[in-house]
Symmetry: C2
Subunit: 778 residues, 2 copies
Amino acid sequence: MASLEDLAVSAFINILSAIGFLLAFAVLRVQPINGRVYYPKWYINGGRSSPRGSANGVLRFVSFNIWSYVVSFLGWMPQALKMSQAEIIQHAGLDSAIYLRIYILGLKIFVPVTVAALLVLIPVNVSGGTLLDLKKEIVFSDIDKLSISNVSPGSERFWVHLVMAYLFTLWSCYMLYIEYDNIAFMRLHFLASQPRRVEQFSVVVRNIPKIPGHSISETVDHFFRKNHPDHYLGHQVVYNANRYAKLVRQKEKLQNWLDYNQLKFERHPHKRPSRNNRFLGLCGERVDAIDDYTRRIHMLDKRIASEHQRILKEPKAILPVAFVTFDSRWGAAVCAQTQQSKNPTQWLTEWAPEPCDVYWKNLAIPFVSLSIRRLLISISVFALVFFYMIPITFVQSLANLEGLEKVAPFLRRVIELKLIKSFLQGFLPGLALKIFLYILPTVLMIMSKVEGYLSLSTLERRAAAKYYYFMLVNVFLGSIIAGTAFEQLYSFLHQPPTDIPRTIGVSIPMKATFFMTYIMVDGWAGVAGEILRLKPFVLYHLKNMFIVKTDSDRQKAMDPGSIGLPENLPTLQLYFLLGLVYAVITPLLLPFILVFFIFAFVVYRNQIINVYNQEYESAGAFWPHVHTRIIGSLLISQLLLLGLLSTKKAAHSTPLLIILPVLTIWFHMYCKRRFEPAFRKYPLEEAMEKDTIEKASEPNLNLKAFLADAYLHPIFQIFEEDEEMGEIRVDKSRIQPSSTSSPSSPQYEYGHDSPTHYEYDHISPLQHVYHHDISSFD
Amino acid sequence: MASLEDLAVSAFINILSAIGFLLAFAVLRVQPINGRVYYPKWYINGGRSSPRGSANGVLRFVSFNIWSYVVSFLGWMPQALKMSQAEIIQHAGLDSAIYLRIYILGLKIFVPVTVAALLVLIPVNVSGGTLLDLKKEIVFSDIDKLSISNVSPGSERFWVHLVMAYLFTLWSCYMLYIEYDNIAFMRLHFLASQPRRVEQFSVVVRNIPKIPGHSISETVDHFFRKNHPDHYLGHQVVYNANRYAKLVRQKEKLQNWLDYNQLKFERHPHKRPSRNNRFLGLCGERVDAIDDYTRRIHMLDKRIASEHQRILKEPKAILPVAFVTFDSRWGAAVCAQTQQSKNPTQWLTEWAPEPCDVYWKNLAIPFVSLSIRRLLISISVFALVFFYMIPITFVQSLANLEGLEKVAPFLRRVIELKLIKSFLQGFLPGLALKIFLYILPTVLMIMSKVEGYLSLSTLERRAAAKYYYFMLVNVFLGSIIAGTAFEQLYSFLHQPPTDIPRTIGVSIPMKATFFMTYIMVDGWAGVAGEILRLKPFVLYHLKNMFIVKTDSDRQKAMDPGSIGLPENLPTLQLYFLLGLVYAVITPLLLPFILVFFIFAFVVYRNQIINVYNQEYESAGAFWPHVHTRIIGSLLISQLLLLGLLSTKKAAHSTPLLIILPVLTIWFHMYCKRRFEPAFRKYPLEEAMEKDTIEKASEPNLNLKAFLADAYLHPIFQIFEEDEEMGEIRVDKSRIQPSSTSSPSSPQYEYGHDSPTHYEYDHISPLQHVYHHDISSFD
């Protein structure tokens, strides 16, 4: 256990590195050349007009003005805080605004809790004096004197802790309720004030039964004409374009190489670039690179064209999935919320995600397979969470030096060198773990994709949930109880259930210093590292050197990234857990969390305003998960306190704690029933209201044209643009605006009536094949 | 532990008592005077035409024909089996038919399991020979030689048990799947072939917000006109008629007394009956009974009339609940399945139950209160299940003799008499428990009512669930682990989770004989007692002697009862649990269960055909619960086998058992997604189909008139009938037909078009007040 001095050293180091990152950021961000690294959002949104305006014109040249660095060191902070919430919603979308509110919620919950805990609990703990008086032989830290460990067993002082636990729970629940209410309102208001969007009129239908002698398209048409006669407008079938998309991606890669070689040639016109034509350019004949790539792109073009034809002609390329559009939001809301068929596994309807939020690959998964996939993934996640150390230990045992020598005897001489040997011995065992932790989010995302959800937003939420379980078991429990998750699982199964909170509860106060250090490393320095954006910085400049020719290439080389919900949500939820658990037990941890919340809030506000470009807009669909996890943290904290107090012989107060979890669960269920439908369903009242307003303001709207090519596989859209404009653009920021309006600019556009924006007249021959008109539609 | 001989004695006694009951039934049922006890269904349904026809004309006089008794002893059995399933559905409703299928499912699962277990497992167990060879000192019964206890620890024979466990699980799941499929189909087919019924067009709306200056009725009308403009037809507000209903019930009771006294006077015309007019006739002046009752009925009539007026005039008497009707099944299906309002706690819509299934008292409960009620009831059920012994022990300690003497010293002399003392000492402690168990179903029903569900069918299902938990903990676990549920709970909390299946698993084989006896007492003799209907028999004859004047009175005195789902479903589920748990462990128990299933099937078939009159028709809505409980039983059986085998050192085979529960849970989730929507939602395809057929066959149907007074509080219907016909009928069998067609006769009535049946022209002034017409409706 660390003493206060150790902690101070750790704090000093972490603060220093945070300041280092901030300084680097201060230097780098004012260089105009880094504009596309630190302000990409402004390039995408408004054609590079920094919010900082011309206050200090440092951005027009490479800056040598020292004063500008001084201003710049923390100068971005007030700027990041200046934007109002409404502006952020308009600028970056509701998801981002709601994400920032999580930090504010953290502050709202923990500021009063910290004040109360420091003022009330620390004096109580200090004057409790067990550790000082009774157990001189036990090693304890100074921090333990301030924690609940310092109160002697059986003391009446535990009543204070009990009352505080009640107060903290009540306060947290109250804040959670207010926040859920707020966010539900924001969501509904946002949805209500959104301009006309295709997903409001669309429903995705899965598991369309195959009727012999009829095409999928005919079946869909017949079914919806019959069962939604008043509101059905048309549908779009989905093509299995996975192979086609692969070809297009190949072509894009070749195009990049071609660009690179052409650039090289331009810079050194005397030397025409050449390459070997086999095995990634490693062997084979030497050929002229530009000619080779041009030839191969040409060949690929032909294959793409024939694949395109095949998809259009072959009935098997049509998946049993369709996007069905309705003539009103009411009709779509009805279809999405009701059961269509007698067989509940057929004609499954749900809200269509935004076109840019659709994960096209998963549309083809049939019902039975879906159910098996979910079983397998649940088992894998369980295994991953509890047994992930097993393969790593195995790899580590392989990766030690003797193992390496056995596998590759020719390396022996190199390994035997002393310097290399000691380096490898220190480095190799940790490497496997580091690699694993680095690829973990990707693995979890792939797992979520296998589960078969339809939209990117859902996939991110599912990945976040998995990551949270991993962190809960391996970071939180794993740090408190020494040993691997597998050992924990074993001991949980072989311990009485009442002993588990007791075992954990007892070791909690002892781990407070560890978590303080963790918060400083992961929370303080980590967040400061986030603002530096080292990886995109390096990548952008590499691309800039080797590929970029035109401004549009530079636009493509830019990687704004997104909030990264799958990793950031679980991290945040872990901080809530730590705060709630330690609030009563070791209140001294709370200020560390407060600093994290404040600092991270400012940093992420800056990133959201200047950097991130959220790919989709889920209108805060992740909030119910955040709420549930915080409630879960409350429950965990209550159970652990119960376990801890039960070892402290506080017989009078402990039984009263049992009421807390019951009340918390009830509160959760109440909130779920009260607010969650706002995140899952679209009320008919709302739909009808918007329909009525729209009909009144735009009586002659041609909705059919508006909805015509909304749910076309993006790869086809590229293909068409390609044919029309003769160039390929696969960048996501390019795909987005082509499907109605960009999610990042949800301005109120009612009555503006700007048909050019929606590409009304842009109906390609492709759509005529599968878009069915209803003659009765006016 | 009982030996085989003890078991044989017990079997002999129970079979004897079962035969005794059957004999008594044989004698009683052929007496014409008991016709209304043993054949009430035929009186209600078809005006007393026994299915036995005139084969033996014993029913027209008191029978002294001995041959008829001989025929009658088991003669009812073939008759009970004669009716086909389709006929039963038509005669007694789908609920009854599906209820009977549970027994058949039991046979389908357990006949092959029994055969396999007896042929394979018993030889394996007998030749295992541990108990014979190794543990001579342990007391064991002959039955243990046939059970898994007889196999020596570490034996390779456990592979046989493992394989059998897999086979049994697979077979059970297969049968469950087939059955769920069948029943879902039956349900959909039944709903599809039902005649036009008001609940198909109706939705119940709860939590209507109060808008100042508007009545509830106006608010409802405005909301649905706006949000369901194409399909909204009208609505009926709900009056808070609880006080009114109480008055009517009082009047009915007085009327009964008046009838009784008048009958007495008719029989003894020389002596006019008199009574004391205070304290239930115990003190006060002596008055003429007939005059007194007539006067009081008259007074009550006035109060009823004024209360009726008050309800109609006072706006507060209108509850924020309404039954909204639509012009098509499609419109109602849409409204029932969608969210209406932005605030998810307002305008809650759900399918309207049948008018006779509505539990009117619960319509008034607001949302917040509902959520608190459910919390409180969950806690109470938990307490009831685990701590019910505490108050009983307390009462028992009070109810012993010393306690009684302290409370009531004047009783000392009586108590000190030896005979009375010993009787009381033997009797009192048991009495509290008996009373508790007797009133338990009623208590659980009251709890379910407090939870606030809207329909009787839901209430019965909820009560059944609670009863099941009680039985699971107190009968199943309570018998296996000696001690009260509270002690079990304590030991569960203080034992490692892996030890729990082990502790229970080890004692399971030892309790086999107990459960065999239990099955014989509760299953064999109990079911035979059910057919005798002792309580309704006594009550009917008492009523017949004292109250019955006319034929309609005799009709009222008849108590056909219903299947009693709240008690019978949990009992059946317990038998499934016993069978599945013991299938691998002590296969000898299985034949006992088979006998129960066969016998109970025949008895309940007879009761359903001849006796019970199901009050409502839920179209098998209880099936998902039955399915879930059987799956739960499978899981319990697997875990217990795992626990048992882990003590048997069968290290090779035990880990393979872990896969079974995972697969079972997955199977359950698959079934839930595949079939449950058929029980919760009404597919639009179905609704549209029926609408289309109806529009084609009856283009001029006046739906508004058909739906006019469907959801009127039954008490008002009585009142109106009362005014029209001058007599009161509160009997439920009378209320039923007045609300459209009787659920017990779901004949195919399409195209028959018999408007008189539906009381089309019967619209009282009351309805004109709250039934809003839509002018646009054609």
